[in-house]
Symmetry: C2
Subunit: 210 residues, 2 copies
């Protein structure tokens, strides 16, 4: 199917109309992905949905991969923004309350466009440019790692890197499952979920303060 070995961007040129075209393409990509799934999401279908021709699509994105990658980037940016805000709001609280706030923010982030998020997780191959799907985790790690440094005195785990890795991976995975595959046990009970995860974290970071 693919003939050329893809390369870098193409026209980043963007005046008035073209910006709208790019937006329309990204929005259409999101819609087609969630409605049809990754492999049914052909560039022709996406262009049609955007009300744009295939030719225009390839004027702004060198190939399908780059198009989807751009959407991934936009989505990750939105999610990270929520986390950054939460980190600020939580700065003055005690550790348990802070953790609670961060877990809540993670849940909110996963609700931004959970259908799209699910497609990224379940169907989009993490290869080439699309490997950046996992950048979300890496960037989250960095943000939280810096935060943990500031809170060093309240955390009784020896190695901050390990502790951050464990917390970030855990909260991400639990939240993902909670939002995407709503477990019967906690169905819809968002606050109970947040409580439980917070207990898990605090019990790990501050053992003995049960």
């Amino acid at each position: 199917m693919a003939r050329a070995i893809p390369t870098n961007p193409r026209k980043s040129a963007s005046q008035k109309r073209s910006l709208a075209t790019v937006e329309a393409l990204l929005d259409a990509t999101a819609r087609v992905l969630t409605r049809e799934g990754y492999d049914r999401a052909s560039t022709n279908r996406i262009a049609a949905t955007a009300g744009v021709s295939v030719g225009s699509l390839y004027q702004y994105f060198p190939n399908k991969e780059a198009l989807v990658a751009a959407l991934v980037e936009r989505h990750n940016r939105e999610m990270l923004e929520l986390l950054r805000d939460a980190l600020k709001e939580v700065a003055s609280l005690d550790l348990a309350a802070a953790m609670r706030g961060l877990v809540r923010a993670t849940v909110d982030a996963h609700l931004v466009d959970s259908a799209l998020h699910r497609i990224f997780a379940e169907q989009v191959p993490r290869m080439g440019q699309l490997a950046k799907i996992e950048d979300l985790q890496r960037e989250t790690f960095l943000l939280v790692r810096a935060y943990a440094e500031e809170r060093r005195s309240e955390i009784s785990v020896r190695d901050l890197d390990s502790a951050t890795f464990i917390c970030v991976t855990t909260v991400e995975a639990l939240t993902h499952e909670f939002i995407i595959n709503k477990p019967d046990a906690l169905d819809g009970d968002r606050d109970r979920f947040i409580d439980e995860v917070t207990r898990l974290l605090v019990g790990y970071l501050q053992p003995g303060r049960a």
Copy 2:
């Protein structure tokens, strides 16, 4: 690319040669998947690698999806076997030691064929028959849920379903990241990883016993 709307199996007929053919096809599928990735893994390539003709492939598997699904099933079976064994061996230990044993078993399970496991996680779309990739989680939940029931008195979390969900999801995600994306923090330090995860679990299930 696909023309027909796939259906059920085909020939399950299996005498002497044919069993070997099926085995060869599954092995070849695993090798091609790990070496080339999911979308480079064409049925022609797989058949060639197996030393078999495409025609034979389609005698035993109605389509590519079914072939990969069969491989997924085999892999999940192997991993679950390790967990089942560990659950038996751990029956008489105290909860903390038991948790440690289960975490270790999870790590071992992820080492069975981690390259293949990575492909399943990162590249194989969870659709149709391939949705069974996630059966591993579901079956693990059931096994652990039953085990938790027996240990009810040692667990101070109110809702066993939630607790099981949290523990299983957490251990799976952490182990997966540890094996697949070896974090710098814990690089290669398997025992330290197991210690840390065990602390996380015990702190949650038995708060106050730090």
